[in-house]
Amino acid sequence: MGSQGGFYQSKEFLDLVKSIGEARSKAEEDRIVLNEIETLKRRISEPDIPKRKMKEYIIRLVYIEMLGHDASFGYIHAVKMTHDDSLLVKRTGYLAVTLFLNEDHDLIILIVNTIQKDLKSDNYLVVCAALNAVCKLINEETIPAVLPQAMELLAHPKEAVRKKAIMALHRFYQKSPSSVSHLVSNFRKRLCDNDPGVMGATLCPLFELIARDVNSYKDLVISFVSILKQVAERRLSKAYDYHQMPAPFIQIKLLKILALLGSGDKQASENMYTVVGDIFRKCDSSSNIGNAVLYECICCVSSIYPNPKLLESAADVISRFLKSDSHNLKYMGIDALGRLIKISPEIAEQHQLAVIDCLEDPDDTLKRKTFELLYKMTKSTNVEVIVDRMIDYMISINDNHYKTEIASRCVELAEQFAPSNQWFIQTMNRVFEHAGDLVNIKVAHNLMRLIAEGFGEDDDNADTKLRSSAVESYLRILGEPKLPSVFLQVICWVLGEYGTADGMFSASDITGKLCDVAEAYSNDETVKAYATTALMKIYAFEIAARRKVDMLPECQSLMEELLASHSTDLQQRAYELQAVIGLDAHAVACIMPSDASCEDIEVDRDLSFLNDYIQEAIEKGAQPYIPESERSGMLNISNFRNQDHHEASSHGLRFEAYELPKPAVQSRIPQTLIASTEIVPVPEPMYPRESYQTTMPSIPSDAGSAELKLRLEGVQKKWGRSTYTPATSTSNSTSQKTVNGTSQGDGASTVSSMRETYDSRKPQVEVSHEKQKLAASLFGGSSKTEKSPATGHKAAKASSHVVEKSHVPKSSLEVASEKATPAQQPPDLLDLGEPTATSTALQLDPFKQLEGLLDATEVASAVNGAPAASRSPDIMALYADTAAGIHNKNDADLLSGLSNPSVTNMPGTTAMPQVTQSSSKGPNPKDSLEKDALVRQMGVNPSSQNPNLFKDLLG
């Protein structure tokens, strides 16, 4: 351990670390930690503990919490340590409190004072330590206590302090935007800081600000573009280079910002085309970091106003990603493809086989990403294949979080693109059967509505068929054990409404099944309630049709059970059923009209039908009704009661009037809008949303009506009618029709065009038949070799075109931007790096320059940064050698080599296990000897229980 300094560690600490390091199991580790807690509890409150010792205790506390145990007994000592004069002790104290405490902890108030003092310190490292703590510990209430000092530090002479002060301001903005709203201009100012570190850090808060309010920052486009240009041209200090890339992390952040600023803004986007194009060309596609930048370029290109040339470059990179052997690159490629198909949907076709490979890959991450892509490219021609695959996958996984997500996506796609009613019902059945308890109840309501209304075509016959097939499939499914509650509710409702409608099944068939359901799921009151109401409907329809009603014995016993149920809801339903059965055909037909679930309900809000009755009562001497507002003397009581009602209204009877049914118009407009503008319409979020009422106009489709419907559900329970559908739903069904109609129209035309292309090509490459079939169904045609050379040719031609042309516009644009930049920015930004060296280099071909750099020794020293040559054949140098070796290979090899981290960057566990032992510890021989001696003296050695502890991470 090279320079010990204040980092001195006692034998006790080393022993602790050693035993934790060698613990073989979690249980053993827990034992060690519990023991340590006991020791520390005793020791830490002893008087007069030396500073160093205390610092060590605090780090031991950090260990305790890191390993999952409570160390709150020692928090106060960490707080005390922040007061210390010694910088190292102080910083360790700050570190510990930021790890231990959240911003609302009571102890924070004791630290704020120290932070205030430290922010004023002459030692910039103390100021930095305090600013670190500010970023972690200050909450909305304590912001004013440190804000003035933190703002003064924005002009501190030390760049490290300015950088951290900017991040403190960023934190304040995150915690309470209003408290610093007058200070956000500082972010703009710091963007022009002459230290690249401060500038780079400032991009983080600016990104957030721009994401919230793009329009206020459009004026910065030129600045961002100019900074990005300078970074890409290596005008930043070499210290920011990473694997021969100039400041890649800053480039990525800038590209993210440009993507926001250029989105839907042609003028802003045009300023970006040149620089993004330059990066596409210059970027080292053989390294991970180069590909990371390229990926960000694609994200940017697909977000800003489209430019054909850039789209082509993006498509080229995507195809390289997808062809790579590295799963990481494939993943990025699939993601990028998902972004690009929004703009140019045709590029998906040339990658169809690669996409299918990813879909069938055993790697779950890749598979999910691919499903995401398929979700984005679903249309009516491929919906069946895609949804089928999605459901298969959904059934195969256990992760409920993802299962829910994919289930709601299936439902969404099925609702949007269903080619036939039959298919729709079958698909929904599968989703409900396997993920019924995970999907939102609204999906079930939608399904019931769809079955009730049909698909909107004015063809009653089709609707009847749909219902019959639903009934048939449900009767079959009821045979399965353990169905989800939501699904059973749908089944009961449909059987009640339409079970006997087409005459295929008799009333006793259906009622028998319904009784079975009520019996089999006797713990589920909601299902039982649905079943009871369904029974009532079946009997009512029988009575209305003047057929003789024989109640099945099991049905009678069910009723007896329910009449005595603890649930008043079930009891009421049972009594209602009893009452209905006792009525004559005419009365029943009025109460329970057959197939009336879609009828509009007109609510007589004045209850005028009671007028005669009231008149009669008043004539007989009854007191007339006095409206609540006119009742004097009882005001308080009535108010009180009113409140009471409000509270109860969610689950009881409502006494105040319903709102006017406005949403009928509102919900229709956004829906049609959505259908026409969005490429991937998301008609209905599947998660419960709290904000229906406030955001109603903006929520697409029938959120509004669903909300109404849900409320009526409550009423329906009370009044024993489950057939009410809100009036708005009719308008919904018509717009649904337009959605379906248009998409189907599109589908038909794509089918025919796809057919043509499909027929005109003959397969030449050996691809498994099944895959081709899948490809054809997904993409509407398989990619044939005949086509790929064609596109390749086109691409080649186009890219040569780009190269030819690029020289001219580049130089002219350079002039243009040089003209523009001095006006926009203070000169200091232009002096970021070593301008003399780079400006001459600029004249050279950047690729030539790169090649020159790729000399093996140079690369080695560049990668190491440190004096690698002085180190005898250690692993780091070996690593650099392999990296350099790979750099020199040709393009194709480069990709497969470097892009796979397991090959190059991860040390093979088998490679040189002996050399990695402690003999090579330390940056130089002397250090390594010291290090080795120390660990041996403690009894930690490579041959002991956990030799892994000694393995060089960089191998």
């Binding site: 351990m1 320079s3 204040g6 980092f7 670390v17 934790i20 979690k26 580790e29 950090v62 890191m66 390993l67 999952g68 145990h69 910088l87 190292l88 002790v89 570190l95 490292l125 670190n132 490290a160 950088k163 991040m167 960023h170 934190r171 570190g197 850090a201 983080c204 210290a239 920011y240 990473y242 694997h243 400041a247 890649p248 992390f249 990525i252 991970n288 970091i289 590909n291 990371a292 990926y295 960000e296 990481n328 494939k330 993943y331 991450t365 999910r368 940064g865 692993i875 981290p901 397991s902 040390p907 930690v940 892994n948 502890l949 000694f950 393995k951 060089d952 991470l953 960089l954 191998g955």
Partner: protein, 143 residues
């Protein structure tokens, strides 16, 4: 926000360093670490270095026996995070000299100090190794 947490965990699933950029209680941390470590350790080297977990992603990379796990938001550039991990390891390697798991254990606070320079408020704020290491070296000298 970007980065939600950075974890170093060894092959046996033992935590060697944990830094969270959003507050989680001790129990939540424990549960999360158990869950994601199990997920990541179960994967092989051919598979992606990315795992989706609930509503965010984990980017991980293995060095010898030590796994570096970084939890990021869904819109983060995974490849860049992967290289960020490597940058962190390079920085530690430059400081410790052939850094190994034990170096991080013995000098937990130094590893944290380096991270504090690199990441603030869940954002990558510094990527120059010199700037990352200078404060740590000055700390060593002054004390």
């Amino acid at each position: 926000m970007g980065i939600r947490f950075i974890l170093m965990v060894n092959k046996q699933g033992q935590t060697r360093l944990a830094q969270y950029y959003e507050w989680l209680t001790l129990e939540e941390r424990r549960a999360l670490e158990g869950e994601i470590v199990r997920k990541c350790l179960a994967r092989n080297e051919q598979q992606c270095s990315f795992v989706e977990h609930r509503n965010y992603k984990i980017v991980y990379r293995r060095y010898a026996s030590l796994f570096f796990l970084v939890g990021v938001d869904n819109d983060e550039n995974e490849l860049a995070i992967l290289e960020f991990i490597h940058l962190l390891v390079e920085a530690m390697d430059r400081h410790f000299g052939n850094v190994c798991e034990l170096d991080i254990m013995f000098h937990l606070e130094k590893a944290h100090f380096m991270l504090e320079e690199m990441v603030m408020n869940g954002c990558i704020v510094e990527t120059s190794k010199a700037n990352i290491l200078t404060p740590v070296q000055l700390l060593e000298k002054t004390s």
